[in-house]
C-alpha cells in the first residue's frame, strides 16, 4: 500500500539488500549510484530464482499447465506495474528491454507515422541521451526540427517562453526529473501546456517512478517510460506506458512472433495490444521479478520513499555546505522539495574521475562523467561531474561517509 507504512527506516530497509551488507577491507559499501542502476532486494532475487527453479515455461504460446501458470505469473506482474503507475488498464503496459528502447519505439513507430519534414519536436536542455539521440536519428531521416526548453540559473526549466516554444510543436518530450541536476519538473503543468498547443506529451519517467508515487492519468501524459533496473527490479527490462487509443493507432515496431495475428507469404496483420509491440520471447523471469520489485516498493510505500529522499536531500545539502563551503559546487536546486536526492558536484577542482577513484578507496561508489547528458554538461559548463545519488536504502551515515571520503581526496590532489 502506498504511503501507509509510517515506520520508515532506511537502516532497516538496507538489510533487504544483500549487496549493501558487503564489506570490503572491513568497511561497508556506500552505494551512491542508484540514479544509474539500483541494487536488488532479496525478494526480487529470490522471486526470479524460484521462478526459474519451479515455474519457468514459455508464455502465451503453449497450453499445458506449466505454461499457463507461467503466463499467469507474467500477466499478474503486468497488472501490478499497471496499478503501480495508475494506468487505466494493463494493455497500456508494453515491456521493452530498457527505457531507451521505449523511447526508440515511440520515435520509430509513432514518430515515423506522424512526423514529416519541418514538424517540430520540443525537448529540454536537461534530457538524457535516450530522449535526444532517437529524435536526432529521425531528424537525419526526416528533417524534423528539434527545439529546446532552456534552463534558468537555478537549474529549473525556464518556462517563461514555453507557450511560444510550443507553437506548432507536434511532440513535447521531457524528463520528469533530471538524472544530473536532480531537478523535478512540473509534469502535470508541462503535459497540460503540450496539450493546449496540440502536442503529444511524452514523459521520460526513469528518475521519478523509482522514487515517488506515479499517476500517469493525473499527469495527463500520452506516453511515459521507465527502467526496471533503476527501481529495484532486474536488468534487461523497461516499461513503455501509452494511452490505449494512441497505441492502437500506431504501426508495429519490431516484427516477429507474438506481435502478429496472421502471417502469409504476402503479408501480415498485427495482434492486439500489448502483444502488438512485444515481438519475440519476452523477458519472462525479469517481468516476474519486476512484479516482485513493484510489490516491494509498494509495501515500503512510495510516499514514504519520497519523504525519505526529501529528508536525505535536506541533510546532504546542509551537511556538504557546512563542511565544505565554497569548496563544493552542487549543480542543482537548493530546495529539497523541488529535487530528488541526486547530486552532481564539483569539488576543489579535482577531476570527477579522480574524485570517484579516490572515493572508491573508502568504498564510496559515485559516478563520474557526463551521465549520458552531454548537451546539459556543456550548458552547465562542465565536461564531467561527480554524482552521488541516494535511494531508499541510503542513510545519513552514507552521506557522512561521502563527506569523509571527500576530505581524504584533498590529501592526494
Amino acid at each position: 500500500m502506498v504511503g501507509t507504512n509510517t515506520a520508515f527506516d532506511s537502516a532497516v530497509i538496507r538489510r533487504d539488500f544483500p549487496l549493501l551488507a558487503k564489506e570490503i577491507d572491513g568497511k561497508p559499501l556506500v552505494y551512491l549510484d542508484s540514479a544509474n542502476t539500483s541494487q536488488k532486494p532479496n525478494i526480487v532475487i529470490d522471486t526470479m530464482a524460484k521462478f526459474m527453479r519451479e515455474s519457468y515455461a514459455p508464455i502465451n504460446r503453449s497450453a499445458y499447465t506449466l505454461a499457463a501458470n507461467a503466463t499467469e505469473l507474467f500477466e499478474n506482474a503486468r497488472n501490478a506495474v499497471a496499478k503501480f503507475i495508475n494506468s487505466n488498464n494493463s494493455r497500456e503496459i508494453i515491456f521493452t528491454k530498457n527505457a531507451t528502447e521505449a523511447l526508440n519505439l515511440i520515435v520509430n513507430s509513432w514518430g515515423r507515422a506522424n512526423l514529416q519534414r519541418g514538424d517540430v519536436v520540443l525537448l529540454t536542455h536537461m534530457e538524457h541521451h535516450a530522449n535526444i539521440v532517437p529524435w536526432q536519428m529521425l531528424q537525419q531521416e526526416r528533417g524534423i526540427e528539434l527545439r529546446w526548453v532552456p534552463l534558468t540559473s537555478d537549474f529549473q526549466l525556464d518556462l517563461s517562453s514555453l507557450e511560444s516554444l510550443l507553437t506548432g510543436v507536434k511532440v513535447f518530450s521531457f524528463t520528469s526529473m533530471s538524472n544530473v541536476l536532480g531537478t523535478i519538473n512540473p509534469v502535470e503543468k508541462l503535459c497540460a501546456a503540450a496539450h493546449a498547443a496540440g502536442a503529444l506529451a511524452i514523459v521520460d519517467a526513469c528518475q521519478s517512478v523509482p522514487h515517488a508515487p506515479t499517476d500517469v492519468q493525473a499527469w495527463g501524459a500520452d506516453f511515459a517510460m521507465f527502467s526496471s533496473h533503476k527501481m529495484c527490479g532486474p536488468s534487461g527490462l523497461g516499461v513503455l506506458w501509452g494511452r490505449e487509443e494512441i497505441l492502437q493507432a500506431m504501426p508495429p515496431y519490431l516484427g516477429g512472433g507474438n506481435m502478429i495475428s496472421e502471417v502469409r507469404l504476402d503479408g501480415f496483420t498485427c495482434a492486439e495490444l500489448p502483444a502488438k509491440f512485444e515481438a519475440g520471447t519476452p523477458a519472462i523471469a525479469e517481468v516476474v521479478g519486476l512484479g516482485a520489485a513493484v510489490e516491494y516498493l509498494s509495501s515500503v510505500g512510495m510516499a514514504n520513499i519520497r519523504q525519505h529522499e526529501i529528508a536525505t536531500s535536506s541533510y546532504v545539502l546542509e551537511m556538504l555546505t557546512s563542511r565544505f563551503g565554497d569548496d563544493i559546487t552542487i549543480h542543482g536546486p537548493r530546495n529539497p522539495e523541488l529535487r530528488g536526492a541526486t547530486f552532481s558536484f564539483a569539488f576543489r577542482g579535482i577531476h570527477p574521475h579522480d574524485l570517484s577513484q579516490v572515493l572508491d578507496q573508502s568504498n564510496v561508489c559515485v559516478r563520474a562523467g557526463h551521465h549520458c547528458a552531454k548537451p546539459l554538461m556543456k550548458i552547465i559548463g562542465a565536461n564531467a561531474t561527480a554524482r552521488a545519488s541516494f535511494y531508499l536504502y541510503n542513510t545519513t551515515a552514507d552521506a557522512d561517509a561521502l563527506a569523509d571520503a571527500l576530505d581524504s581526496a584533498s590529501d592526494i590532489f
Partner: protein, 147 residues
C-alpha cells in the same frame, strides 16, 4: 490440476463430433472471419439477419474441440433470436467465461442451456480464447449486418 473431464463434457464432444450448422451461406448473408493467433485456428461465421432477427447462421473453418463445439452450440442458440437478444446472450456467455469486467450489463436471468457445459473451460485459461472465438466472430458479423 483440474481434471480433464471438466473440460471435455459429453455434450461438448457430441457437438465436436457432430457439429450443427456447419456450412456456408451465400450473399446477401454476411460472412466474417476470426482467428486465434495462439493456435492458428480460424473460423468463418455466415449470418443472415432480416428485420432485426437472425434468420440463419452457419460456420466453417478449423479448430479444436472447444472452439468447434462452442461455435456449434452458439449457432443453435442464436438462430431465431433478435439482434438485441443475441447481443445480450453473447454478453451472458462471455461473462460466464469471466471475460466481461463489469456485470452491470449482464442479464443473469438468461439461460445458456447446454452451453453451461463450457463453464469448465474457465479452469483452463488458455482455452478461453478457443471457447470464445466463434462468439467474438459472431459479434463482428453482427456489426457488419448493421453497416
Amino acid at each position: 490440476m483440474p481434471g480433464i473431464e471438466d473440460l471435455y463434457r459429453e455434450i461438448i464432444l457430441d457437438h465436436y463430433r457432430t457439429p450443427r450448422n456447419r456450412g456456408e451461406l451465400p450473399p446477401p448473408a454476411v460472412s466474417c472471419e476470426g482467428n486465434n493467433p495462439l493456435c492458428g485456428d480460424d473460423i468463418c461465421i455466415y449470418l443472415d439477419v432480416a428485420d432485426g432477427v437472425v434468420r440463419d447462421v452457419k460456420f466453417s473453418g478449423q479448430g479444436c474441440s472447444i472452439s468447434q463445439s462452442s461455435t456449434s452450440m452458439m449457432t443453435v442458440a442464436v438462430k431465431g433470436k433478435t439482434v438485441a437478444e443475441v447481443q445480450a446472450f453473447v454478453r451472458r456467455f462471455k461473462h460466464m467465461m469471466t471475460l466481461t469486467e463489469g456485470d452491470d450489463e449482464v442479464d443473469q436471468s438468461i439461460n445458456l442451456g447446454d452451453i453451461e457445459a463450457l463453464q469448465g473451460v474457465v479452469k483452463f485459461p488458455v482455452r478461453i480464447k478457443c471457447a470464445t472465438l466463434g462468439w467474438n466472430t459472431l459479434l463482428e458479423a453482427l456489426k457488419e449486418t448493421q453497416n
